[in-house]
């Protein structure tokens, strides 16, 4: 009698991850089409409109890429933390605290050289994100508290803090009772490159390369991989596993904080509850779909940015923007399921 077992393939290569993403995307588009059909919409015309309005012109393409920036940066942060097998569910909070840190520095310091000021503000954003994850990092490293819970809960604290600030001490009297802080001055706006594309996108490219290098080509990345594989092996090799986890968390949080800073300096220009529209959560999807590969996060981040813009504009023809979110979420589910088929193979084993 012959049995069949599922056995894990020896290598899951980048291509397999790409295929599973494609399959996931196709599944997502099919499901999206069904939902559109139920709503008496023609899927082909809706999707082509989405395509046109998200990448069809310089303006729409640059808007899409602007939306991609926070997704990519937060996604990279999640990916770096995952090198030590830790999950960052707190990117949303880190984005907010990054923006808050920028505003705090902005109101308290004055530097007349605007490029230097911008640089300092960006660094503040990064540090803000790191501070946001500091408590989860300490509790993880010292007491072993599950970081998924602590980073998630930190989001609520930071969002609460944001609401307090924009309704209280930072409330802009000119905002006509809209809860928001005052606008930052134009001297600290991030310049645009072309169309509406913010120069934050260049930072994004730089950080993608940096994250790839850190994860794949550096000693620190290697030590993170070993520590993530087995804490005992790390101790055996003389690697301080806790220290690696701690710094991976601070860097991961910093990436998301930088996303918040860029969002503030290039898009919203003021702190409000609208700094992030769930970017920190969507970034988890982006990172998971790509199997935590930095280059993949960059590409999928761009696609998801376009989907968000596309979803927003189709509202004008009476289609709910939620269709974009449905596509994002089903892409993840589809990709994760199809990843299973690329990761495992069916093997025949003979009895005895």
């Amino acid at each position: 009698m012959n049995n069949y077992i599922l056995s894990k393939k020896t290598v899951v290569n980048d291509l397999a991850t790409f295929y599973s993403f494609l399959i996931g995307l196709i599944i997502a588009i099919c499901i999206g089409s069904v939902i559109l059909l139920i709503q008496d919409q023609n899927p082909i015309s809706v999707f082509s409109l989405m395509l046109k309005l998200s990448v069809g012109s310089i303006n729409s393409l640059s808007s899409s890429l602007n939306k991609a920036i926070p997704l990519i940066l937060a996604g990279l942060g999640i990916s770096i933390m995952n090198s030590v097998k830790l999950w960052n569910i707190g990117a949303e909070g880190q984005i907010f605290l990054g923006a808050i840190a920028v505003n705090l520095i902005y109101i308290n310091i004055e530097i007349y050289n605007s490029s230097l000021f911008i640089l300092i503000l960006l660094i503040s954003g990064f540090v803000g994100g790191s501070i946001c994850i500091l408590l989860p990092a300490i509790t993880k490293v010292v007491f072993g508290v599950n970081e998924i819970i602590t980073t998630l809960l930190t989001n609520y604290i930071i969002i609460g803090l944001t609401i307090y600030l924009v309704n209280g001490p930072w409330k802009d009297p000119k905002s006509l009772n809209f809860p928001a802080a005052a606008y930052v001055g134009e001297e600290v706006y991030l310049p645009t490159i072309f169309g509406r594309l913010s120069s934050g996108f260049l930072i994004c490219i730089l950080f993608t390369i940096g994250a790839y290098y850190l994860k794949e080509k550096s000693v620190f990345g290697y030590e993170m991989r070993i520590a993530g594989g087995s804490a005992m092996t790390a101790i055996y090799a003389g690697i301080n596993a806790r220290q690696k986890a701690f710094f991976a968390m601070l860097i991961g949080g910093g990436f998301a904080g930088l996303a918040g800073a860029i969002e503030l300096l290039s898009q919203t220009h003021r702190v409000s509850i609208g700094i992030s529209q769930g970017f920190g959560y969507t970034a988890i999807i982006v990172a998971a779909i790509t199997g935590m590969r930095p280059i993949g996060i960059f590409l999928v981040g761009c696609l998801f940015g376009a989907l968000t813009i596309g979803g927003a504009v189709i509202q004008t023809i009476g289609v709910s923007s939620y269709i974009a979110e449905i596509i994002q979420a089903t892409t993840l589910i589809g990709a994760l399921v199809s990843q299973f088929f690329f990761t495992y193979q069916i093997k025949e084993v003979k009895d005895g």
């Binding site: 070993i226 594989g229 055996y236």
Partner: protein
């Protein structure tokens, strides 16, 4: 002679390629205490799991009171009154003693629980109230509850898998008295599994011995059997060493002085005043049943375990306060017992794992050169004939033998001066064992001082120049290899000193 209550005939059981039980016969007499003796991995637990219906044998039959039993599962075994206490407790920690004892539907003391509990508390000298939560009990008390659970579930045949492994000597004595009472007054049939000679002689009336999945001796009367015979049965005859041991020994490379480690609740065994030294070109064998302090000793010498008393000197330098990396710089290599999990990181690629010891030599500042790593791995593959085709594949895709070759190759290629090798060939097939032994001999001839920790006496006799026996954290005996034999070493491993 007594009637056989339960009998297992011609039992076969394999796990993958490993034949765990090979044509095993076993039988029990009503009301007697039976000893089942054997080394780790001899098949004792597998046989017990078959009797209690947890595993299904591939071939063979189980006969209860002369009646052949069709497929036995835990429920039908329970109905026959067969119950087992596993090495790992199966109690619900946040339930009370009473809830745990009465949990099963097989429980017979429903209305008269109080009475029964009182009676057996006395037999087991258990002081705890039945409302106490399991989590508040000591290990020894939990053990008592496990055995009481069998009684409350009306199990007349009680299979106890290494019950004394977790007990203090005092608790062990108590257990002996309780089991005697149970077999005499309640006519319980008991199987007592152990690899400790002293205990099997004290506890049991008749002894069965297993080795390598076979039942090598059946129904030996405990009173009349000799210790030496049991050891020979359990360990087998040792094949004569073919390794020459006349190589030149040099100066002392490793000295360990007065090493002690207090056992705390963190799962470590204690060590008690360990003193040893190893010369260049010498292999010092450390014999002992695992769990007698070997892992702790190796971890202390290699720098993994920092909190200990005593002094470790490598090549004349006191390294007691130094970390892992400093000791590696003195050219110390450690091949840990736990291949996957300590020596190699699971879930990480073969390439990454191949440079764990020397990844610094592939780095330029913060940069890690993938080329250098690949070259290093290729060197290991060539030198140690490791079979792998994909360096980026996860480490667990390698076979056990190739994994160990990678680990040993990684640790030996730098020609270390001091080597700690723990269970280097455990679980490997004969050809891999030979290849690895050759590596160790080569290192010795190159002038390494080698500490070889092993449970395999064949291996220890073949390779070592001297032999220490570790028992309950103490060196209880030292042998020159010429005067060591299965008997005297086996006895020392079981805690018996002549």
């Amino acid at each position: 002679m007594n009637q056989k209550l339960l009998e297992a005939k011609n039992i076969y059981k394999s796990f993958g390629k490993i034949q765990a039980l090979n044509n095993v016969d076993f039988y029990l007499y009503k009301g007697k205490i039976h000893g089942l003796l054997g080394e780790n991995g001899a098949g004792k637990s597998s046989l017990m799991n078959i009797l209690s219906g947890i595993y299904q044998p591939e071939k063979g039959s189980i006969i209860y009171k002369g009646e052949k039993q069709k497929k036995l599962n835990p429920e039908s075994a329970g109905k026959l009154g067969i119950g087992m206490v596993h090495q790992e407790f199966r109690l619900i920690e946040n339930f009370s003693i009473k809830d745990n004892l009465t949990l099963s539907k097989a429980n017979i003391y429903v209305n008269d629980f109080e009475e029964a509990f009182k009676k057996y508390s006395e037999i087991f000298s258990l002081a705890a109230n039945h409302d106490t939560l399991i989590s508040e009990l000591s290990v020894g008390e939990k053990q008592k509850i496990e055995i009481m659970k069998l009684i409350f579930n009306n199990n007349k045949i009680m299979l106890l898998d290494e019950p004394t492994a977790v007990l203090t000597p005092h608790e062990t004595n108590q257990l002996k008295i309780s089991l005697d009472t149970l077999s005499k007054e309640d006519e319980k049939t008991i199987v007592f599994i152990t690899h400790k000679l002293k205990e099997i002689k004290e506890f049991t009336e008749t002894i069965f011995v297993m080795k390598n999945g076979e039942m090598v001796a059946k129904d030996l009367e405990t009173k009349s059997v000799k210790d030496n015979d049991l050891v020979t049965l359990m360990m087998g005859e040792i094949t004569k060493s073919v390794v020459k041991k006349d190589n030149k020994k040099g100066e002392i490379k490793l000295t360990v002085e007065n090493i002690s480690l207090k056992s705390q609740d963190d799962g470590f065994n204690n060590l008690d005043d360990i003193n040893l030294n190893i010369k260049a070109g010498e292999i010092l064998g450390i014999a002992g049943v695992s769990g007698n302090g070997q892992v702790e000793l190796a971890n202390i010498i290699s720098g993994i375990h920092p909190n200990f008393e005593g002094k470790v000197t490598i090549k004349g330098q006191d390294v007691s306060e130094k970390g892992v990396k400093a000791r590696k710089k003195l050219n110390l290599s450690y091949i840990p017992e736990n291949r996957l999990g300590v020596g190699l990181a699971p879930g990480v690629s073969i390439l990454d794992n191949s440079v764990v010891k020397e990844y610094f030599s592939a780095s330029y500042g913060p940069h890690l050169s993938t080329n250098k790593m690949v070259n290093y791995l290729n060197l290991l593959i060539k030198e140690f004939s490791i079979k792998t085709d994909e360096p980026k594949a996860e480490i667990s895709t390698l076979s056990g033998g190739n994994m160990q070759k990678l680990l040993m190759g990684r640790e030996l290629i730098s020609n270390p001066e001091v080597i700690i090798a723990a269970q280097p060939t455990r679980g490997l097939d004969v050809s891999a064992v030979e290849a690895l032994h050759e590596l160790i001999i080569n290192q010795r001839n190159n002038g390494s001082a080698i500490m070889l920790i092993s449970e395999d006496l064949d291996e220890l006799f073949k390779l070592s120049d001297r032999l220490l026996v570790l028992y309950e954290g103490k060196i209880i005996k030292e042998f020159n290899i010429n005067e060591a034999n299965t008997n005297n070493v086996g006895l020392a491993m079981a805690g018996v000193i002549e």
